[in-house]
């Protein structure tokens, strides 16, 4: 493999909470995002991805306080997605301590925003998030967390945003998201081979092997995952008020996980990747 594959824990945020849903819906509260972020940093996460899961629905962004707190303790790149509509929005998210922003709905509504943003903040700061649902043989772009059709073809859109100056593509298969059925490898490979910029595969990781496949077969440069890490973390803290305070997580703590999800740790993911010949850097961080 070419470069060290990045492992990116994805933290879906609703209000003050880390949540997790299935196909971007049916959210459950898992705990305080700061706790999860600090833990993944210590465990050697390469980056963190925060998604304000309701922002584009209600037109607010409650993520800034969380980002500000996290950025004081976590010194790996932080990407923020969800509800970012303008250059001013981008500026305020960066000011809070984020390193990159991911644009989706706003980019589809006005593609020129990608160009303006990459010129103003640098391409490496601007990620375009592409959420895809497969319809027949066609991969179609959706916005608003998989609610709105756009009639855009995912491959064409990926090429377009690259020309407009996007630095990376965050590619989410809505069909697979939260299901644990594995990434859409064909989609991932098609997009990655269509553009010169890195692709972060997202949506569907249910076990370690899925992440390895996203790199080997899907040709992704980075993989994002949520449930398989979150459930493992939740299981370790059976009586912590900051973690899973509002729901009955007995089934998770008992090791049942959720459906197809076989929870794991960043260290185990790296081990499997290295065994499969996928390059990644391996080391937990010491507290600093």
């Amino acid at each position: 493999m070419a470069l060290n594959t990045r492992l990116v824990p994805r933290l879906d945020i609703k209000g003050p909470n880390l949540v997790k849903g299935i196909r971007l819906e049916g959210l459950r509260v898992l705990g305080k995002p700061e706790r999860f972020a600090a833990y993944y940093y210590e465990q050697g996460a390469d980056e963190l991805l925060f998604v304000d899961i309701v922002a584009s629905l209600y037109g607010r962004n409650s993520l800034l306080d969380i980002i500000e707190r996290v950025s004081k303790q976590v010194f790996v790149p932080l990407t923020v997605a969800g509800g970012i509509r303008s250059l001013d929005d981008i500026r305020s998210v960066l000011r809070a301590g984020a390193d990159k922003v991911a644009l989706n709905t706003a980019a589809v509504a006005r593609p020129e925003l990608v160009k303006e943003a990459s010129k103003r903040f640098g391409s490496s700061t601007i990620v375009v998030s592409i959420e895809v649902i497969k319809r027949g043989e066609k991969y179609e772009v959706y916005t608003d967390n998989g609610r709105e059709r756009t009639n855009l073809d995912a491959l064409e859109w990926a090429k377009k945003v690259t020309e407009l100056g996007a630095g990376e593509i965050l590619l989410t298969s809505v069909d697979r998201e939260g299901t644990g059925e594995g990434f859409d490898l064909e989609l991932t490979r098609l997009v990655s081979e269509s553009v010169p910029i890195p692709v972060i595969a997202c949506g569907g990781a249910g076990k370690v092997e899925h992440l390895v496949s996203a790199v080997v077969q899907g040709k992704a440069q980075a993989v994002a995952c949520a449930s398989i890490l979150h459930y493992n973390f939740v299981r370790q803290f059976p009586s912590d008020a900051d973690i899973a305070p509002e729901i009955n997580t007995a089934h998770i703590k008992a090791g049942a996980g959720y459906g197809r999800i076989q929870d794991t740790t960043l260290a185990d993911i790296r081990k499997s990747m290295l065994q499969s010949g996928v390059r990644c850097l391996h080391r937990a961080r010491e507290a600093s």
């Binding site: 493999m1 070419a2 470069l3 060290n4 594959t5 990045r6 940093y41 390469d46 950025s71 004081k72 010194f75 790996v76 790149p77 960066l94 000011r95 809070a96 301590g97 984020a98 390193d99 010129k119 103003r120 903040f121 640098g122 391409s123 490496s124 700061t125 630095g167 990376e168 010169p196 910029i197 890195p198 440069q221 980075a222 850097l281 080391r283 961080r285 010491e286 600093s288």
Partner: protein, 226 residues
């Protein structure tokens, strides 16, 4: 005289993570676009992401070029990061030929069609973690620099399409490898240090560089222990 380290703001990229890292290791710092503040600061950090040409134009427009060119002579610690390192060079070949600050002899060039070990095409920009190495493997090479106390092959976070090629191999502080291209990933000249990676986003090892920078500021030199 300002007691705060100047993080130079010329409208290119995100400076807040640099400020956070300074705060974390106890460096009093401020984000500023005031040439007088840059001139008076005990040390200067030049960060930045984006295009070389735009960056030089923005520096010129804010009258920041002169106080930055003054850096070597002033003897104050100077730390260029990412695009900041590239701006330290004499010339860049990014979409044309552009003059840089000329603090370090050499040029800036693009990763041209990089390929991996198995001949596969690599992505440009390079985004992600890579390791940094002492040129020639000399153990003493990082002594007294911002890289002091770091092990060889420390991992750092990179985002870039271009890299620097100093004329004098002696100023190369570290090398890294992208596919089959060995490139200079940091330079050190007297009180100047520049790195292509983002130390403020490179975890514990990156923070160690900021701690070394704090010590260099205390000593009034650009590199730890003078």
């Amino acid at each position: 005289m300002s007691a705060k380290v100047a993080i130079v703001d010329y409208g290119m990229g995100n400076l807040y993570s640099v400020l956070r890292a300074c705060e974390h290791v106890g460096i009093p710092a401020e984000i500023t676009n005031d040439p007088a503040a840059v001139k008076a600061a005990p040390a200067v950090i030049l960060p930045g992401v984006g295009a070389f040409e735009d960056a030089m134009k923005e520096l010129d427009a804010r009258k920041l070029t002169a106080p930055l060119k003054d850096a070597p002579a002033s003897g104050r610690p100077f730390f260029g990061i990412c695009l900041g390192l590239q701006l330290m060079m004499e010339k860049s070949f990014e979409f044309g030929t552009w003059d840089g600050l000329g603090l370090v002899k050499g040029t800036v060039t693009r990763f041209e069609a990089p390929v991996g070990e198995e001949g596969e095409k690599l992505k440009v920009p390079q985004v992600g973690w890579n390791t940094i190495h002492r040129p020639g493997g000399e153990a003493s090479r990082w002594k007294g620099s911002l890289l002091e106390d770091l092990p060889d092959a420390s991992r750092m976070y990179f985002v870039h399409s271009y890299y620097v090629r100093p004329t004098d191999a002696g100023v190369v502080a570290s090398t890294s490898r992208y596919g089959q291209i060995d490139f200079c990933s940091s330079v050190r000249v007297d009180n100047l240090f520049g790195c292509q990676w983002h130390p403020e986003r490179s975890g514990t090892e990156g923070l160690q560089m900021y701690r070394n920078f704090a010590r260099a500021i205390e000593n009034g030199t650009g590199n730890k222990n003078g």
